[in-house]
């Protein structure tokens, strides 16, 4: 039977759980072209009376920044951003991310947009959630070809924050800072632990029995399809049209 929720809705609900409730998270920033993380934050805001604060980099109207495009980075540098999201053309088992391209730099085989603010935000935001829908050996590699931003730093290098978790279209991994390794937390509906192992290019820890990712509740779906969809359509019109058939 086909599930009665969209893949994007499932992923947004998992991200909302990772961000956590308003007691722990006051301010979440969402960067370029990230409609699913933005959906996750809007879901929390719909549930928690408008908290946490969301700073959406590419908000079309009512953009929170009045100091231009550098203000997000100034906020993060001061420690005013609790949670940020990063992806990667490649992500490796030490949580290093590559947003530049595959192959030996600079003669790349496949060029991606570039590192954006990752080399700064990964250090300065209190927590970073890694998010990439494609879960394949091509993306989740033993070692990235280029480190746009490192997952950890040696003692003596200033660093406020780092990775919290890695969410893909198949599974959720928790980051173990002490071991500098991922641990498989749960697999999404219809996905087996063996399938995740085969699709992951890096080694990771896993419990003997892997749990299932919880599916969206009826209440979550109602919020997603109502106030959240209306808000998201303003800034991500293509995404809202695709997921909820909703025009801005």
């Amino acid at each position: 039977m086909k599930p009665d929720y969209a893949r994007e809705e499932l992923l947004a609900c998992i991200l909302a759980g990772l961000i956590g409730d308003a007691r722990h998270t006051a301010h979440v920033a969402v960067g370029a072209a990230s409609p699913i993380p933005a959906t996750a934050v809007e879901l929390l805001r719909a549930r928690q009376g408008g908290r946490p604060r969301l700073s959406l980099l590419h908000r079309r109207r009512g953009n929170p920044f009045t100091e231009g495009s550098r203000e997000l980075f100034d906020l993060a540098g001061q420690g005013r951003i609790d949670v940020f999201f990063l992806g990667g053309a490649q992500i490796d088992g030490e949580a290093n991310i590559n947003l530049v391209g595959s192959g030996e730099y600079p003669g790349v085989e496949h060029r991606f947009p570039g590192s954006f603010g990752s080399a700064f935000m990964y250090f300065t935001a209190r927590r970073t959630i890694l998010f990439r829908e494609e879960h394949s050996p091509r993306v989740l590699v033993p070692k990235v070809d280029f480190v746009s931003a490192p997952g950890s730093s040696p003692p003596g290098v200033w660093r406020r924050g780092g990775p919290q978790a890695l969410l893909t279209g198949k599974a959720l991994f928790a980051w173990q800072a002490d071991r500098r390794r991922f641990r498989l937390e749960s697999v999404h509906p219809g996905v087996g632990a063996d399938e995740v192992r085969a699709a992951t290019g890096f080694d990771y820890d896993a419990p003997a029995k892997v749990g299932a990712t919880p599916v969206p509740t009826a209440q979550e779906l109602e919020l997603l399809r109502g106030p959240v969809a209306a808000e998201i359509a303003l800034n991500y019109p293509e995404f809202a049209r695709r997921v909820w058939r909703r025009a801005a």
Binding site: G117, P154, P237
Partner: protein
């Protein structure tokens, strides 16, 4: 001692976007805002019609549609940027192809290092420190990024960005007034690039007769004329990108471009239809 003084301008009003483009020489180092800010697309199209060559683009801090057009049209030798992307419309196809073929040089950056380098130039100091970045492979390819010991604390290294002084700052704005002041609203990255650059060329939606600095509500969004070299009127000059409060980004057009520009032939057709013929864009 080296004299790196920047000019104190008395802005000129020139005829149109072509006249502004004529002041940007081949090979110039040109700072551009991102697609979501205010981009002087009419000047970009004029540069392509002129057959501009060997431009070096600086993305403040990223680039998109305008850079993809210039790259595809063969106007660009180098881009210094934190990313080139079409946002929701996906990868920038002409940039990706040029990068994969090695036909342009790319100086990969990360957003706040671009801002810091420009802020150093704004202040007339040689560099600006920043947190993070140490351990990124970006640093291996940037001779103008170095680490420096914190002079106030032991065992604390910071990365520093060398001051970035663009030859040209180029952008679009809503208004310029009779004194040559330009209203940029909250898009303060435009002020940063204007402050840092040797010359600043601006197209505007409209010219006003008043002095915007006399109006306390307008004044905080004004870039003072001391930074502005020349201005041209260009109504809808940011199209298909937007001017907030006036017209939005033309999402359908950008999506269509992203599809067409996947191939060189499609890109050539796009140029023919929307760039090479003057006033090809809808009014």
């Amino acid at each position: 001692m080296r004299d790196d003084a920047l000019p104190s301008n008395e802005p000129e009003v020139v005829a149109d976007a072509e006249a502004l483009a004529a002041r940007i020489p081949d090979g110039a180092f040109v700072a551009l805002p991102p697609d979501y800010s205010l981009v002087a697309m009419d000047v970009v199209r004029a540069l392509i019609r002129r057959g501009a060559k060997d431009l070096r683009l600086l993305g403040v801090p990223v680039l998109g549609f305008c850079a993809d057009l210039l790259i595809g049209a063969g106007c660009v030798a180098e881009v210094e940027t934190s990313a080139v992307s079409l946002g929701e419309a996906g990868l920038a196809p002409r940039f990706s192809e040029a990068a994969e073929r090695g036909s342009i040089r790319i100086r990969d950056a990360t957003c706040p290092m671009v801002h810091s380098g420009l802020q150093a130039a704004e202040k007339g100091v040689p560099f600006m420190p920043l947190r993070g970045v140490i351990g990124s492979d970006l640093t291996r390819h940037r001779a103008d990024w170095k680490t420096l010991a914190n002079p106030f604390e032991a065992d604390d290294a910071l990365i520093v960005a060398k001051a970035i002084v663009p030859e040209v700052a180029l952008f679009h704005a809503r208004w310029a007034d009779a004194r040559g002041n330009v209203w940029i609203g909250r898009r303060r990255e435009l002020a940063t690039i204007a402050h840092a650059a040797k010359a600043c060329y601006v197209t505007v939606e409209a010219l006003r007769e008043d002095d915007m600095l006399d109006d306390e509500l307008l004044a905080p969004g004004v870039l003072g004329s001391v930074y502005v070299s020349a201005i041209a009127r260009a109504p809808r000059g940011a199209w298909p990108l937007g001017v907030i409060g006036e017209y939005g980004i033309d999402d359908a057009h950008i999506l269509d471009y992203a599809k067409q520009a996947k191939t060189r032939e499609g890109f050539a057709r796009y140029l023919e239809q929307f760039v090479l013929k003057r006033s090809a864009q809808p009014a």
